[in-house]
């Protein structure tokens, strides 16, 4: 896993899945459609990504089309670095 994926993986586990076995959260686990990220959690994740990677995520990108999996999120962040 890339550094970005690792960082996001750790953030989601600690914030939204406390107690989950880290191995169960994979690159393709559905996050928004799987109810792991609700609307408030998505806003928090976006704020975290913007702060951590010094990027700007457009409001319309904060949805299941762009952020439903760790793979999607890594791709989105990478495209902005």
């Amino acid at each position: 896993m890339s550094h970005i994926t690792d960082t996001v993986h750790e953030f989601i586990l600690s914030e939204f899945l406390p107690g989950e076995d880290p191995a169960n959260l994979t690159a393709t686990t559905p996050l928004i459609t799987g109810a792991i990220l609700d609307s408030l959690a998505t806003i928090k994740l976006v704020a975290f990504l913007e702060e951590r990677f010094k990027i700007t995520i457009q409001a319309h990108e904060a949805d299941a089309d762009h952020m439903d999996t760790l793979t999607d999120i890594t791709k989105l962040v990478t495209s902005k670095l």
């Binding site: 107690g19 959260l25 799987g34 408030l40 806003i43 319309h60």
Partner: protein, 526 residues
Amino acid sequence: MATTALHDLLARAAQRHPDAMAVEDTVGKPEVATGITYRELDRLSDRLRDRLRVQGVNAGDRVGLYLRKSADGVASMFGILKAGAAYVPVDPTAPPPRNAYILDNCSVTSVVVERRFEQRLRAEMEALGRVPALIVVDEVGAGRGLGDALDREDRGTPVPTRPSSRPSPHDLAYILYTSGSTGKPKGVMLSHENATSFVDWCSETFGLTTSDRCSSHAPFHFDLSILDIYLTLKHGATLVLVAEEIGKEPQRLAQFIAGRRLSVWYSAPSILGLLAQYGNLARLDLSALRLVLFAGEVFPIKHLRLLQDQVPKPRYFNLYGPTETNVCTFFEVPGRVPDDRTEPYPIGGACSHLRTRVVDPEGRTLPAGEAGELCVAGPGVMQGYWNLPEQTARAFLPESQAERWYRTGDIVSEAPDGNYVFLGRRDRMVKRRGYRVELGEIESALYRHALVLEAAVIALPDAESGVRIKAFLTCRDGKRPTLIDLKAFCAQHLPAYMVPDLFAFADTLPKTSTDKIDYQRLKELD
């Protein structure tokens, strides 16, 4: 003039302001506004009225609405009312089996459904044994989708035009389903008089004009939509529908409110809290905004202060009331929240069309200042729960045969200034993002999971989001599902706002001496 039939509001406004914009929507393209005038809305709803009657819809029937928020949806409501039926809106984002249950439960004669939901709905209704007549709208937006669907139907069989229904005050106008403690949603039956008495009170209190531009943020299955739709259209103002996809994103939503020059805003406090924290409101021109109304849950005082600091001009109102009565008490926030205030504002005093009192568990009226259950009487109080006579009976004070006093389940006390202060619930219902959540309905869903042996759900206070929902589970043969699996499972069976935030596993759950789950000890365990 007091209103009689809810749909008369539209007919009258259309006579007075035929060319004014009635509803703006933004389906699919949130940045592009489309709309429908009063004349068009009235005409479109007349056409649906006539079509529904040909389909066999009679006065007293129910008709479902399974559409994204749109002018087409608003036109459908009026068409259904004009046909003499009650509309039953379902949440298009909720799991299809739950929606099918609702439509089957109140045995709808017909459903106005958007093409994208049609196939699943048919399959689910077939599984339940009866598929109602459908009017299928390809794609909603500005009423054009509904218009096209009616054109298509008319090419097959033209319909005669007949006048709109003349309902009596107690005839049902709509049924709104809310979370039910026994695991299934329950239908709150509201009549024309319930709605019109409330809307007339709103007119008296908020004084709308034709130049107002009012938000419709709440979905149509949520009772906040009644104020949005009917108050706005009664006054010939413009209803601006907030699309689902931007309604939860604070920055886009803030730009939408500024860009559309909204003058009246109404929503649950949670979205206002997010706007205050993440919306960059101070940088926007919100000068058109004159009224900010909120209801559905307690507004954390620090978020309200943060909002007022950025948007100081509007008057702010805390509206309170369950779906069964709609708003029954209200409180105007007196100016800016003082820096040292930490407790939330009161829910206020009774609306002029209703009466309230506070009772002890035996139903005796308590002196001012003592904590008890708030009860409500008057023309705004629901007709009952659909097909649930026992739950309906329990919802009212027993001695009140002549005068029906609805028991809200909310514990309040009356402060010396006459305002009620909300203290808590007498049962296991909580509010989350303004929605009612029966913890029992979440437990019911969890019990359907193959590995779950026992489930107990509690709500924990949370400074940021109001409450967090935590599920305690015991599992068959010690085989635990993963948290990820549990969340996905819940999302298939429950609306998003009911999915627990936290899960915990135990070997056994604490029990009372009568072998019931001991929720008090669960909370202490936490």
